[in-house]
């Protein structure tokens, strides 16, 4: 037979121009294609079983055994963690054979310590934290591996209401007291970069204070701080409480910047490869779900044991339809976005800034570190398995506050010559 179909299904399917032995050269294809009853039953049973098996494996167990199905994952109650909530509430974890217990932490130091001590298996960590841990900044190096990038964008600079109309750009922030949630955070580095871009020295011309986000809103109300660069929903919350306004979204500083990551220890990913894969799959699928159902998930993720915030605040953040607290109404759908792909360029930028502001003294090859921590290959595979389009390269050119950043610019940006 020369037809493609014939070659493929020889013996079973006969086409009009079939010239196989079984063919009775009949024009009745159906008749020619008829199988004996026994053959048919077997084939039917086989088909049903295969179908069932496929369905079962799609719903229940992954193709391979998960080594450690019971896991504890820590999170901080900010909107960056939304995919984790959804993965739990909408049972994406369960789908891949995982029994995950989410555990809320009140601060970054606590979640970091629990991660280091092994009390939690995986954690929601600020993007610079896995890098800081792997370098051993606060103790022994703890090689960390990203399951995925948890979210991009999703932060903002919020200022006290009394500055409405008075602040045009970073130069107007001189002399202010500004809060960030942690030293090793995108918030800290973005703020510093923002200030430095207008010649404001972050160490001398402003006071940068580390504070917990809920305390920031209260401090803003009380006048203890002038503003902050913090994760949502605390920017929108300040607007909601009438104590502040959103000066600029972080997306406007660097569209697509990494914010928080979802990480496990490198040991974990090596010791429990199937579990690790399952985590990646469930997370990536949950992230997609979040992107497509932003309004629908608001009620669930606002619950007390998750975000514990008023629904309208959470909705404003997730949908991007929000009031900025100084009369403007906006519709920016990717105010916060969930792209799990861990571009290695992120890691290189973070390293350059950590060095720039003397948080580390890094003298190695940033690409090597990025390779160790960022699992582009794994996320790519997970995305493919889920039928999503994944980037084929590990690096991209970033556009940060009007300037381009490439891996080759590492040294220059490290020294602040931008």
């Amino acid at each position: 037979m020369n037809t493609r179909a014939g070659k493929t299904f020889r013996g079973l399917i006969h086409v009009k121009s079939c010239s196989c032995r079984d063919c009775n050269a009949s024009n009745n294809i159906l008749e020619a294609n008829s199988l004996s009853r026994r053959e048919f039953t077997l084939a039917f049973a086989g088909a049903v079983l295969t179908m069932l098996y496929d369905v079962k494996s799609a719903i229940a167990s992954p193709p391979q055994e998960v080594e450690k199905p019971e896991l504890t994952i820590g999170f901080i109650p900010i909107t960056c963690a939304t995919p984790l909530f959804t993965a739990s509430i909408n049972k994406f974890f369960d789908k891949y054979g995982l029994k995950v217990k989410l555990r809320k932490f009140s601060g970054w130091a606590e979640i970091r310590d629990a991660f280091i001590s092994g009390e939690i298996d995986g954690a929601h960590l600020l993007a610079p934290l896995p890098i800081a841990l792997s370098l051993g900044v606060s103790g022994n190096p703890i090689p960390t591996r990203l399951v995925a990038m948890q979210n991009i964008n999703g932060q903002a600079i919020t200022l006290s209401s009394k500055y409405r109309g008075k602040v045009k750009g970073p130069q107007d922030l001189k002399g202010m007291v500004l809060a960030v949630p942690f030293d090793f955070s995108m918030h800290n580095f973005l703020l510093r970069h923002y200030l430095a871009s207008a010649g404001v020295d972050p160490n001398k011309d402003v006071q940068i204070r580390v504070m917990r986000p809920p305390d920031m809103v209260a401090a803003l109300a009380a006048g203890n701080i002038d503003g902050y660069l913090a994760p949502d929903p605390f920017n929108q919350r300040a607007v909601h409480e009438g104590v502040g306004f959103i000066h600029i979204l972080s997306k406007e500083l660097w569209n697509g910047h990494p914010c928080c990551s979802f990480a496990v220890k490198e040991d974990f990913s090596k010791k429990f490869p199937n579990t690790y894969r399952a985590l990646q799959l469930s997370f990536v699928e949950a992230a997609q779900y979040v992107r497509k159902n932003r309004q629908a998930i608001v009620k669930d993720v606002s619950a007390r044991e998750y975000l514990n915030q008023p629904e309208q605040v959470v909705s404003a953040v997730l949908t991007g339809n929000f009031d900025d607290g100084r009369g403007g109404k906006h519709s920016i759908p990717d105010r916060i976005d969930f792209d799990p792909y861990p571009w290695k360029s992120f890691a290189v930028w973070i390293l350059s800034q950590m060095s720039r502001w003397n948080y580390v003294k890094f003298l190695g090859d940033p690409k090597k570190l990025a390779d160790a921590i960022y699992d582009t290959e794994g996320v790519r595979k997970a995305m493919a398995q889920l039928g999503l389009k994944a980037p084929s390269s590990d690096y991209k050119t970033e556009r940060i506050m009007g300037k381009t950043f490439d891996v080759k610019d590492f040294e220059r940006w490290k020294q602040g010559r931008i």
């Binding site: 109650p77 509430i89 555990r103 809320k104 932490f105 009140s106 601060g107 606590e110 310590d113 629990a114 001590s117 092994g118 009390e119 809920p214 809103v217 209260a218 109300a221 919350r237 409480e241 009438g242 669930d300 619950a303 007390r304 044991e305 998750y306 514990n308 915030q309 008023p310």
Partner: protein, 263 residues
């Protein structure tokens, strides 16, 4: 008889009237907008309280009842307090007896007892590598001092007569400890435990604010995270109520060991 009855009435009357007055003024201040928006009125707290009490033992993962949190806190306090007693009482006796040891460790004891629970927390975490044990460690290390010090000082107040009678009648060593010394300081030990428990309970809130995932301290922090002061204040009331109940229990026990009362 009549006098004590009328006294009790007066006490109750004053208590209720004063409380109502405070709440009344508070409510008025809130209604008239004198307070910060963040600060709730008693009526708001009441609303929050009624809905919480309905869900006291709710096991709904998204929104756990405050009863569940209370249960976890009680567990931790119980263990921490027990450890404080087991460590504090024997060491207190040792330091009370031995002039040399007592003086030698004076600086250690008096420096350590002033350390705030929030400072112990990172130390506890570093030592135990587990947030649950760290919380219990913090509770124990904060409440051990009043127990230890009271027991140590109680030794010096054991009447000389007891030693003399024991010496004369040959009650020595372990028998002396068990039959004379311990019973004679038992009322003070119990009094110290009452104080110690009060501290344990106070510390749990601080300890859990930082490391708990379940517990009344965590509840408070979580409510604060949502800038819900009603929740914080309500939790404080729950904490206070439980504390009073336990204290009352201790008073009953103390009275039972008051050797001088007519039984």
């Amino acid at each position: 008889m009549k006098e004590t009855f009328s006294k009790s009435i007066s006490v109750i009357f004053i208590s209720i009237t004063a409380t109502s007055l405070i709440f009344g003024v508070w409510e008025l201040l809130a209604l008239s907008g004198q307070l910060l928006k963040i600060f709730p009125a008693p009526s708001q707290i009441y609303d929050f309280a009624t809905s919480e009490i309905k869900n006291f033992f709710s096991g709904n993962e998204g929104s756990l009842g405050i009863g569940i949190h209370l249960y976890h806190s009680i567990k931790r306090v119980f263990v921490g307090f027990l450890i404080a007693c087991i460590v504090g009482i024997p060491i207190g006796i040792l330091l009370g007896f031995s002039g040399v040891f007592g003086k030698a460790f004076y600086p250690h004891v008096h420096i350590l007892r002033q350390v705030s629970p929030l400072a112990w927390l990172p130390i506890g975490l570093a030592l135990t590598r587990n947030s649950e044990y760290a919380a219990i460690f913090v509770i124990a290390i904060c409440s051990v001092w009043p127990i230890l010090l009271t027991v140590a000082s109680s030794i010096s107040f054991v009447p000389k007569a007891y030693y003399e009678v024991s010496a004369v009648f040959g009650i020595k060593g372990f028998k002396f400890m068990r039959r004379v010394l311990l019973p004679s300081i038992l009322p003070q030990i119990i009094a110290s435990m009452r104080i110690g428990f009060g501290i344990s309970w106070m510390v749990i809130v601080a300890a859990e604010m930082l490391v708990g995932n379940r517990g009344i301290g965590y509840f408070i922090w979580n409510e604060w995270n949502n800038l819900n002061l009603s929740g914080v204040i309500f939790a404080i009331m729950v904490i206070g109520t439980f504390g009073i109940l336990v204290d009352f229990l201790f008073v009953q026990i103390e009275q039972n060991f008051n050797y001088n009362r007519r039984r």
